[in-house]
Symmetry: C2
Subunit: 222 residues, 2 copies
Amino acid sequence: MSEVRIIDLKANVLEDNDKKAEMLRSRLKENKTFLLNLMSSPGSGKTTTLTQLIKLLKNEYRIAVMEADIDSDVDTKRIIEAGADAIQLHTGGMCHLDADMTEQGLNSVNFKDYDLVILENVGNLVCPAEFDTGASKNAMILSIPEGDDKPLKYPLMFQISDLVIINKIDVAPYFDFDMDKAEKNIHARHPEIDIIPICAKTGEGVEKLADWIRTELSSVSK
Amino acid sequence: MSEVRIIDLKANVLEDNDKKAEMLRSRLKENKTFLLNLMSSPGSGKTTTLTQLIKLLKNEYRIAVMEADIDSDVDTKRIIEAGADAIQLHTGGMCHLDADMTEQGLNSVNFKDYDLVILENVGNLVCPAEFDTGASKNAMILSIPEGDDKPLKYPLMFQISDLVIINKIDVAPYFDFDMDKAEKNIHARHPEIDIIPICAKTGEGVEKLADWIRTELSSVSK
């Protein structure tokens, strides 16, 4: 895939989303494809994190990325340049993806051809947390400039995530971000959650993130 | 008001929101109260900006702040400490406020007693842009760490805002944020929009923001 493909998604509000999500998760498992749902605020570094991760993993796994956005295709171009296949999903103004929309994207990307599919969800800490996409696991990024109080304000996002990536640790000296306080706030919402601090810009810590992915994929490898 | 009052809002999905918003705007005008709707991503500095602004304006105007959040009341406490009256609005999981919810908040705060009421909307660049709250004017914050490409990804937010505050200019040297590119992207979405760069942490540029407010209020002063 060398040019950007754009898929316009349609929301199916009538269907029971949780049931649809469970069915999709089973379908992914049968096909030994791991789907990671990556969420965060706008501008916390999802795409940069993915480009670094793709560099480390592209020779081990077949990787595709589904870039969900209200508009634009700037992120998809960056992912393709980093060496993975990617499609752009346009949500038609919706601030999240539900399981049906995710399945439309997976079908468009021919997910059975991949070991790892990553859904870069719409930049938003509220809506994406409210809809189970059917992903194998949920990860979120909290960036240093956003502050260590975000788990207090957006509790559901932290509760439904399996991993919190703390990004932009290189600029920590310039912000009032207390890492211990952040970890305490995160664990108060979700005691078993994994936390990996990184700097996506320089690549620092991304090897640990790659290891987290490798561990998850070892349980579903083809 | 010395303790935090929390109002649980109820969404009224049946009513015509645009009509309700226009009615609310007229009601505010009649009472000579200016309502500013302040929006942004999570962690872009809404509350810090407001605390600096309140310091500059509290001796000139009677100010109240309505702090909308999914959960928590940490921001309301900070506003009260800065010297303004404030109430906490809980949105019950909703990622935005509509005109009816805004009016519930305004009635709770007795808006007729104030010259300036500021609604600190839920941290989100998608949903709040889709619902007219009935505010006199809309302002949004874009912080440097979020990146200069946000107007491309969240077009509606920039289209419906009257003012973009570019915050965290003190950390600009540590991020790949091109101010000229940002302004070009913003003006491509909304040619007449005002842009004010500030550093809410140090107060740099906040005097210009206070002047913007003064100009707006001079047209509705009591």
